[in-house]
Symmetry: C2
Subunit: 231 residues, 2 copies
DNA sequence: TCGCGACTTTGCGCGAAGACAAACAATCGG
DNA sequence: CCGATTGTTTGTCTTCGCGCAAAGTCGCGA
């Protein structure tokens, strides 16, 4: 395998601040994984044998319930660790991670995990914080699902995605990966129809601009107002 | 303060397997906290200055959104750590923990946390696992909220509570703490009215038996069938 | 023991949003 | 360049469950 440069992982919050030799040692055990758009890093229910770091691209994590209905659990950005099932004592991946665009990841065999933990205590702390952040996010989503109207939830999701993956353009803030109405619907627990209708209405009053798998936020403040309003 | 016995914490999964001296050392830094029914261990938004272990009783954790709507995030059982905000780098408690029945907890000042982590690496691992379990649970709730009907969600919540806090009686499995229709409604994102109606219907066909803040599961299999059904 | 407050039940009407349906783009591979 | 596939829009109809309202009941504290 080609030599991997330590700069690949130094930028990730998980490994930030580690001495260069440690980074090299960690990298030596990783293998690179090319993920063309649409390909899965792992699938729900598969035995969790590896954990990953996304270097480039964007992954969509989906979960299927026993009745076959699907939801989008989260999007993974470059620098994020994912598939860390063994950290939380889970035997099988609880979801499926699919490349939303051509992506590149590093993968480590599970066995590496406990060795890393032992040698680098900061890793446990960082992982704890990352899990904590995801937990916070999940709790917020539960609260939103329980208490907010669909339109408010769509606004919230779009704003969050814009913040997480926004790229400035002349028109506004472009969400920088293909995002279908269906994806958005599965993120917030509604149907693509409702999302589509809402977008049409928003487009008419200049809040957003959108096309096929493409969303541009034109009026962030306006969306925030919708997300927060209570009537 | 009265001397605390190490058996108090040895039973908690977080501290299980630690040598007795370590337990004693940890206990020495704890203070006991009596929580009469209705009293809060901490409130949402308060600066997080302590973390806790529930010894006895049951706490209800609620979250309020900016519009003032409330939800029940989880119930804390004896042996659970809670208020571990500092572990996930959060300045303020994200929710309010109220005693559902007279309860007893241990409390440690935040400063103890990093020292404990450094001396007892297993603590990080255990905390990670507990966060992981909560994350899994949250994700499941999101999936349910997004895809399941209200009746299925009520059934699911009741079954979960029965498993977590069930006590066998001659009539069936009693949920062993006061649980109002309102609580249940806030757990699954509906109104107390709908919960009440559903319970009336279930009671009529013998699935459950219930009274004021009281639920007894009579036909577990029947509830499971409702929870899983897809039509 | 007797209120009073907290919790629960039940009825009714309405509205948000889901189901179904069908037409319409845009993209891609051949 | 064309057809197939995938994604999007829009319309209509239906319905679940929420909002509102009011009455009923249980239990605790005075």
């Amino acid at each position: 395998m080609a030599q991997l440069d330590r700069s690949l992982i130094a930028g990730s919050p998980t490994f930030a601040g580690m001495p260069p030799e440690a980074l090299d040692e960690i990298l030596a055990q990783a293998s690179a994984l090319r993920l063309p758009k649409g390909e899965a890093a792992f699938r729900q229910g598969e035995p969790a044998e590896r954990f990953f770091l996304l270097l480039h691209g964007r992954l969509r994590v989906t979960r299927l319930n026993p009745q076959g209905q699907q939801m989008v659990a989260r999007f993974i950005a470059p620098g994020d660790m994912f598939g860390v099932a063994m950290a939380i004592q889970v035997e099988a991946y609880p979801g499926t991670a699919t490349a939303a665009v051509d992506s590149l990841a590093l993968a480590w065999p599970n066995a590496v995990w406990s060795a890393l933990l032992a040698r680098h205590p900061s890793l446990a702390v960082k992982t704890m914080q990352s899990l904590g952040a995801r937990l916070q996010d999940s709790q917020k989503r539960i609260l939103d699902l329980s208490t907010q109207q669909v339109e408010q939830r769509i606004a919230g999701a779009v704003l969050q995605l814009a913040q997480q993956a926004g790229r400035k353009t002349e028109d506004g803030l472009l969400i920088d990966f293909p995002l279908s109405r269906q994806d958005l619907a599965e993120m917030i627990g509604t149907t693509l129809h409702t999302v589509s209708r809402t977008f049409s209405a928003w487009e008419a009053i200049g809040l957003v601009e959108c096309g096929r798998q493409r969303v541009v936020v034109r009026d962030r403040a306006g969306l925030q107002k919708i997300a927060k309003k209570q009537d």
